[in-house]
């Protein structure tokens, strides 16, 4: 283990934001004597990845194992990457400033499709061959994970192994299997076979990728499972939320104490991949949440606490949690934030509890402009819910509102798009009606409109995505009907959504496109100022792959899908049934409020819904 600091330090005077590379934060763990070293990469800059909760959980978990050190790695911004290449400095871990290539394991979370070129950049800067097949015994095992593991095929060739699902238990098993393989002196090939025996671990090299007429399948004699089933933690209460996570110096996104109050969401929105792949709902108890939140605030000194989950105000004991936290934090200038609110009076009650007299902004996601389309996507809210909530919120002094919508949802017509503008008009009218005349000038509604991207493992995984021309047409319709005064309209870049769509449902052959884009100077594609669709289109063209067909042509229900060998536990039959119910505009209830909807997760994974309180409602 060689400390590279003396080579890194001279570069820092010449790069932007050197704090990205200096470690030394409160909470950083240094275990220089550990025999097994894991480098954990978030494939973007420090400020984007620092607060990632998955990395924080795995960092704490791995550093808690005997003789194991986990260290953080982020992708150096372009100026630093260039400086490192010019000076011959390889990608290094922050804590010990060690070359990543000298570590035993290189763990990479893949949070978002567009970070794939940064995976190439990190591997190359580390001096590790991009493709697993080209790696030698001296290279670390490169293990992926995160949301994109549910369709890992576009990046599969870059990984030795990929963990599907939750990592709390699985990372320890992966490290154990790898340590055992090393102590037995197993070859790289045999090591990968051993890793494939860890439940939830997918070793791409052991599989024949899917073809036009057949799903992916294990290679003859590989011993790999026909289907890799996601890992899931049955009881979230078995693990505390990180008590002392690293406290950044830099202004990073989501720079706050985070306590995950529940995992999974069964509201059943049919476009939402997270809602399908993180099932079932498992709540932490109110006692555990309050205990972990106060402990984390004490240890980190953070000034904001976020109670995270996909639907925090659905927690069956959320009112008790917020009352106890508000009382404990009074007078300490600590704010509590909720990432999303239920669209009803209860949601406003909860917002009032954490606001402590101040009135910031409120965020809601109606997603679609008409009831018909909200029923198609199973967004179980009505216009009355939204308007009633707005009436209460503005009546109580809130003046800023953010509304999220999508265009391009299956079955959408121009009528539905116009419905968004009309709905916003009605929201504005109510806001003005209940706001005193002198304060009406302060009314602002931010409307954020993204383009629907069909994702794997959802009822809409077979659907086509709008072409760029169609998106522009729908955006025009929306602009024509959206009120101007009091509304700030924002678009999600349609070119980014289009590319996201190709990568989200692509197959193994896309790795050639990704590598070509990276070799032609691509990287940091999640950054709008850097993103270039033209570069991607050239690469698709050079590799003979039609991205429009990939993203926009609907797939038959009987066609093999590139991710058929990966199971989230939700059955394909259920997804197809949900798709049919969508087309029939039939809604499906939330199983954590009512009865089982037979998605298949609980019996397949041997788990059940875990509620902290008696019931939700």
């Amino acid at each position: 283990m060689t400390d590279l600091w003396s080579e890194v330090e001279p570069l820092l005077a010449h790069v932007e934001r050197p704090a990205r590379y200096i470690d030394s934060e409160f909470g950083a763990v240094h275990r220089p004597d550990a025999g097994y070293r894991a480098a954990l990469l978030y494939p973007d800059t420090y400020e984007l990845g620092m607060a990632n909760q998955a990395i924080a959980i795995l960092y704490e978990r791995l550093n808690g194992l005997e003789d194991v050190a986990a260290e953080r790695v982020y992708v150096p911004w372009k100026d630093m990457g260039d400086a490192m290449r010019a000076a011959g400095v390889p990608l290094f871990t922050l804590e010990s400033v060690t070359a990543v290539r000298s570590c035993d394991l290189f763990g990479i979370t893949i949070p978002y499709e567009l970070t794939c070129t940064n995976v190439c950049e990190a591997l190359d800067l580390a001096g590790i061959p991009l493709r697993a097949v080209d790696r030698s015994e001296a290279d670390p095992v490169v293990v992926g994970g995160g949301p994109c593991a549910f369709n890992p095929e576009p990046v599969a060739d870059f990984f030795d192994a990929i963990l599907v699902g939750e990592g709390e238990d699985a990372v320890a098993e992966i490290v154990d299997a790898h340590r055992a393989a090393k102590s037995q002196g197993l070859s790289r090939t045999d090591t990968l076979r051993a890793l494939a025996r860890v439940p939830g671990v997918y070793v791409p090299s052991l599989y024949e990728p899917a073809g036009a007429d057949r799903p992916a399948r294990p290679r003859e004699g590989s011993g790999a499972p026909a289907q890799v089933v996601k890992r899931v933690v049955a009881d979230l209460g078995a693990f505390r939320a990180p008590v002392c996570p690293v406290v950044p110096f830099m202004d990073v996104i989501h720079d706050r104490a985070n306590v995950e109050v529940l995992r999974g969401c069964t509201r059943g929105c049919r476009f939402c991949q997270a809602g399908m792949i993180y099932r079932p709902v498992r709540e932490r108890t109110a006692d555990a949440i309050v205990r972990d939140a106060l402990a984390q605030l004490r240890c980190t000194g953070q000034e904001e606490l976020s109670l995270t989950s996909l639907s925090t105000t659905d927690h069956s004991d959320i009112e008790d949690v917020l009352r106890r936290l508000s009382a404990a934090l009074r007078g300490r200038a600590v704010t509590v934030s909720l990432p999303s609110l239920r669209l009803d009076s209860f949601g406003i009650d909860m917002a009032r509890l954490v606001a402590a007299g101040s009135r910031g902004g409120l965020t809601f996601a109606p997603e679609a402009g008409t009831q018909r389309l909200r029923d198609v996507i199973n967004k179980n809210i009505t216009e009355d819910d939204l308007l009633g909530t707005v009436r209460v919120a503005y009546g109580e002094g809130w003046r800023r509102l953010k509304l999220y919508f999508m265009i391009g949802l299956p079955t959408e017509t121009d009528e539905d798009v116009r419905g968004i503008g009309e709905l916003v008009s009605r929201v504005l009218a109510i806001a003005r009606e209940v706001t005193p005349p002198a304060e009406r000038g302060g009314i602002r509604i931010a409307v954020s409109v993204s383009t629907f991207v069909p994702k794997s493992h959802t009822p809409f995984q077979w659907e086509g995505q709008l072409t760029l021309a169609q998106v522009q047409d729908r955006q025009r319709v929306l602009r024509e009907t959206m009120p101007r005064k009091g509304v700030d309209l924002h678009w999600h870049d349609s070119e980014v959504s289009f590319l996201e769509g190709t990568l989200a449902r692509g197959g193994r052959d896309l790795s050639r496109v990704i590598e070509r884009v990276w070799r032609s100077g691509g990287g940091f594609d999640a950054w709008t100022e850097v993103f270039s669709l033209a570069r991607w289109m050239e690469a698709f063209d050079a590799e003979g792959i039609d991205p429009v067909a990939l993203a926009s042509v609907p797939r038959g229900l009987d066609m093999p899908l590139p991710w058929d060998h990966i199971s989230s536990g939700v059955t394909k039959v259920y997804l197809a049934l949900e798709r049919r119910r969508a087309l029939e505009t039939t809604v499906t209830p939330d199983c954590s409020f009512g009865g089982c909807t037979a998605c298949g997760v609980c019996p397949a994974l041997g788990v059940d819904i875990v509620l902290a309180g008696e019931s939700r409602g």
């Binding site: 704090a19 409160f26 004490r298 000194g301 000034e303 200038a333």
Partner: protein
């Protein structure tokens, strides 16, 4: 009537790797240190309540400091030595507090109180020695004016005003160390590394600037 508060003045270092932090990053880190130390701090009133905290003059990214200062208002008196212990235990290495004492409420703010800053600039060119460097810096100082561009804006410094106490150069461990005092004003302060770089440039000497450290902050009249 507002509750009584105790104005604690903390002197701390910004050293080692943490010299690469910006002023805002240091400020945020110190605020979190106070929270971690478990001290009962006063908060500002208003829409966004914040810890009541005030910082001395900013240090640029890359410049170290050994006697930086902030004030924090506490709701409860804690003996300075005890506070220092609590803060040290809660601080990342490199931002460690070195001194804590209570300041009077009527004393000037830390931003206004200190008008002079002492610096040491280390230059690593042992073959040329301190004499040549002193001469080069002396040439710039005697020219009376330093013009430079900063973030696209042109700045002109009157060196007789900016450098009230001259520049001294000594040799230490085979390196040249320039000591100088900069007067800070409302229009911004002269960066000592800029002065030294300009001297090196004018003398045709290679730029081998090793480090810049602010070693003290003081009011003007305090020096004998």
């Amino acid at each position: 009537m507002a509750d009584a508060t105790f104005r604690l003045r903390v002197t701390y270092g910004k050293t080692g790797r943490l010299r690469f932090l910006s002023h805002l990053e240091v400020a945020r880190a110190c605020e979190r240190t106070v929270r971690r130390a478990g001290l009962e701090y006063a908060v500002t009133q208003g829409f966004n309540q914040r810890m009541k905290l005030a910082f001395g003059p900013a240090l640029p990214v890359g410049t170290a400091g050994t006697a930086e200062v902030y004030d924090v208002w506490l709701k409860r008196f804690v003996a300075p030595d005890a506070v220092l212990g609590l803060l040290r235990a809660a601080t990342p290495e490199g931002l460690s507090p070195v001194r804590a004492h209570y300041a009077g409420e009527r004393e000037a703010s830390v931003a206004a109180a200190f008008t002079l800053a002492d610096y040491e600039v280390v230059i690593g060119h042992p073959d040329r020695g301190p004499g040549r460097l002193a001469e080069a810096i002396g040439d710039v100082v005697s020219s009376g004016v330093l013009e430079m561009e900063h973030k696209g804006a042109r700045k002109v410094y009157d060196l007789a005003i900016c450098l009230p106490e001259g520049v001294r150069v000594r040799e230490e461990d085979g390196r040249s160390v320039a000591s100088l005092t900069v007067r800070m004003g409302a229009q911004g302060s002269l960066r000592p590394d800029a002065l030294v770089r300009e001297a090196l440039r004018r003398a045709g000497m290679s730029d081998e600037l090793m480090s810049v450290t602010r070693t003290g902050l003081r009011p003007e009249e305090a020096r004998a």
